[in-house]
Amino acid sequence: MKWETVVGLEVHAELSTKSKIFCACTTEFGGEPNSHVCPVCSGMPGTLPKLNRRVVEYAVRTGLALGGKITVNSKFDRKNYFYPDLPKAYQVSQLYAPICRDAGMEIEVNGNKKVIGIREIHMEEDAGKLIHDARNNRTQMDFNRCGVPLIEIVSEPDFRSGEEVLAYLEKLRETLLYLGVCDCKMQEGSLRADVNLSVRREGEELGTRTEMKNLNSFKAIGRAIEYETERQIKILEWGGKVTQETRRWDDDKGESFGMRSKENAQDYRYFPEPDLLPLYIDDEWLQRIKDSIPELAHGKRERYQRDFGISEKEALVLTEHKNISDLFEAVSAKSGEPLEAAHLLTGEIMYLMNNANITPEFLAVDAGKLSVLINLVISGKINRNAYKETLAAVFDADVDPDEYIAKQGLKMVSDTNIVGDAVKAVLAENTEALADYRSGKEKAFGFLVGQVMKKLGGTGNPELVRKALKDSLSV
């Protein structure tokens, strides 16, 4: 019998609200340690939480977008444990009445579609960070992240492979980005996933699972799943037993280590948070949140094809990341040339991003400058060569296209006299190619066009060049 991997995911997404979940401090990433704190989020005695309604809206938005049931009578609970990054020694979370239940998401792997169940989505506050100072062997606390709002998206154990997990995470990331609720930067920890994994012989009962933490990239998640699957199979094939435990993934070493087993598992002593009133979401509020849900990727995909006549393939690339589709929409609106904008973003910009090793979330190009360029090339002010060159300069150094074109002399040469002179000179210098052409070698024509363009510094009007050359040759 074949072994089967069974995975469930707990995804933590930091919500990109301006202020924290229970106080007015900023949620901005980074900052001097302990500069984004106040008595409330640093857990000073006597302080009380005040729920940020925007957090509820973001959580509900996510729940609705994932097809879940919203708990209109929701509430918060305290999860009690001691750790230095948790200044109150409890985390305000949701156990008994999470904001959303019974959601799900369809994924596609190798052409096979499958729905992954999402058991619940709940709101909670993030903890701080411990910073280990190796110089004096001290650990210091930074509470900036304390109280940053999180949603935890808990899936059913519906995954059967690492590919499925990655497909789900990709799609979840895309959805959260489109919803505008999370910036999904795994490196900054704003999107984190814990993997619950067990193996079994196909058709058998679920095996003992382990929980893996500290997975900081999709790649790490893929590797960790592979590693853990093999580890568990090896144990079972040798007649051993998998220990139910939490394991820490070490991406550098490429292996995971046991942290704590079930026997010394914490008892979190959950109970209803008495400092917050039960959360009631009335119809009007729910409707307002529904209305605030932006168009998601698949909606955009269809609209781009329908309204702009963009190909399915390009529409897919444009909507893969919200940053790209945002840029596309801005450039097409500004330039009035959606098709050209689509070509630009799926072609040249993708190429430049790949070369510069930039992922979509860090793409920062000025939409205004791109639309200026598009209009310049379409109206014949510059040719495609100049377009590409200026584009690269805009991409790399954020130059002003008009200035750059003027400075580099990239304006398209459409003056028949200048082009004619260049043709004459080229024909005079390339008698061999000329002879080739005359003896019927069509290829030589292309070479000659290239030479004329070169003479014109790449800025010649290509049609004009061809026409002038043809005319001269037919004489």
Partner: protein, 487 residues
């Protein structure tokens, strides 16, 4: 000055017949003279007070009308956060803790031109009924210094009874304002849950705690209550929309008022002296024209257990933040992280606090939650329903505050069960979130004050205070000074 009502003193200050400095320094002198007897104060904030005196006097001189208690000194229970002024909860854990922010009530008092002149003694973290458990020593009852002042707001009641301060703030989680008021012959109000902001109150049990006023009479209490009540954006559980509007009345009749009398509160476990004095108050209500209606209070045997389960559960979580890391006491010989937690908390908390943390952790732990905590919540819901029904029949309920008068210092300290049963008449009010006023109604055979309480429906403070005022308009127990009270 010390025998005037606070409202009269306040008027003299406003009319500039008494200066703010005279009032504040007069009381500071009195505290310095008597505090070794009562030990009601933990911290005397002399300099802070004197600075404020100048500012407030200048405002009064310029004709600014800050409030009806402007310029009056006040002292605050030491579990209420005061910026720059030590807030210890009478615990070794916080004996050097200086908060960076003011509780909302403190801000409100200072905006009203009152002068905070010190912090008052209490049971450690407000856990107790005798003010014996704090590390700064026992608070003595001004009526008999060999006896306790009650608790946990013992310092708040004793300081007012001992004329060290005209007004104080206490907090009431299961009777902690009312019981010391009864023991010390003072008047106090435990407001409706949600009437006064808890922001800055170092939590014992969040769903039960309320801050309230203590004074020598209901008028002064009501005036102070009008300053501290009302909504606060920093406290989501503080739901009252507007603050209490103070007004005086000179009525002496109670025609049409329906007073519920829980018959079963008087059958057993209550001292005869207490019973007699409370029944004399009932007679007074009757004489004033109120209708007295006897009834059987349901769930009596479940009140104390439900209270201790809920209060301790919340406390176990609320007190977890005192971990020796960020502020407060840290054990000197802790070497590892778990030793910091273990030793700091073992050494920093007193016995009663540890007992309640352990009880609370136990009732919340998996496998016991349903058997204890959930049951307690169900009891609480039943109790709320019962009170809701009762208040369709009555305007107020009259009841004893405590089964005994002030006991001897050390008498009950080793008998927690006896201590806990002392809360039998008070805890249901907190569980149901209701308002109650404790008022003096006589003395027992030893000349010790006896108090009774009037319990009202949620947010019925206005009615409650009006009825209490009629009672005090007809009686004089609230004006009995320490020396006159004692035989």
């Amino acid at each position: 000055m010390f025998d005037l009502s606070t409202l009269t003193l306040a008027k003299l200050i406003r009319d500039r017949e008494v200066s703010v400095k005279e009032a504040v320094c007069g009381y500071i002198d009195e505290i310095e003279r008597t505090n070794n007897k009562y030990n009601a104060f933990i911290t005397l904030a002399k300099e802070r007070a004197l600075e404020r005196v100048e500012i407030i006097q200048a405002k009064i001189d310029s004709g600014e009308d800050l409030s009806l208690l402007c310029g009056v000194p006040i002292a605050i229970k030491d579990n209420i956060s005061t910026a720059g002024l030590k807030t210890t909860c009478a615990s070794k854990m916080l004996s050097d803790y200086v908060p960076v922010y003011n509780a909302t009530v403190v801000d409100k008092l200072e905006q009203a031109g009152m002068i905070v002149i010190g912090k008052l003694n209490m049971d450690e973290f407000a856990m107790g009924g005798s003010s014996e458990t704090g590390i700064f020593g026992v608070t003595h009852n001004p009526f008999d210094e060999t006896r306790v002042a009650g608790g946990s707001s013992g310092g708040s009641a004793a300081a007012v009874a001992g004329k060290q301060i005209p007004l104080s703030l206490g907090s009431d989680t299961g009777g902690s304002i009312r019981q010391p008021c009864a023991f010390c012959g003072t008047t106090g109000i435990k407001p409706t849950y949600g009437a006064v902001s808890r922001y800055g109150l170092l939590a014992y049990a969040s769903s039960l705690d309320q801050i309230g006023p203590i004074a020598n009479n209901i008028n002064d209490c009501a005036a102070l209550f009008s300053l501290i009540s009302g909504g606060d954006i920093k406290d989501s559980t503080c739901v009252s929309e507007k603050s209490f509007a103070f007004s005086e009345n000179n009525e002496e009749r109670m025609e049409g008022i329906r007073v519920g009398l829980p018959r079963n509160y008087f059958t057993s476990g209550i001292d005869s002296g207490v019973k007699e004095a409370v029944m004399s108050a009932v007679k007074e209500f009757e004489a004033a024209g109120a209708a007295i209606i006897e009834f059987e209070m349901p769930l009596l045997e479940y009140m104390v257990p439900a209270y201790y389960i809920i209060a301790c559960a919340e406390a176990s979580s609320n007190l977890s933040r005192y971990d020796g890391l960020k502020y407060g006491y840290r054990s000197a010989d802790a070497k590892t992280l778990s030793e910091v937690y273990l030793k700091s908390r073992s050494e920093g908390f007193g016995l009663e606090v540890k007992r309640r943390i352990m009880l609370g952790s136990f009732v919340l732990s998996s496998g016991y939650y349903d058997a204890y905590y959930k049951k307690a919540l169900q009891t609480r819901a039943l109790l709320k329903d019962a009170y809701n029904r009762l208040f369709t029949q009555f305007d107020v309920i009259i009841s004893p505050v405590a089964p005994t008068t002030a006991y001897k210092i050390g008498e009950n300290i080793d008998d927690p069960m006896k201590m806990y049963m002392g809360d039998i008449y008070t805890v249901s009010v907190n569980l149901a979130g209701l308002p109650a006023a404790a008022l003096p109604c006589g003395f027992d055979g030893d000349g010790l004050p006896v108090g009774f309480q009037l319990i009202g429906d949620a947010f019925s403070e206005e009615k409650l205070i009006r009825i209490a005022r009629i009672y005090q308009n007809r009686t004089n127990y609230h004006n009995t000074t320490i020396s006159a009270g004692r035989k």
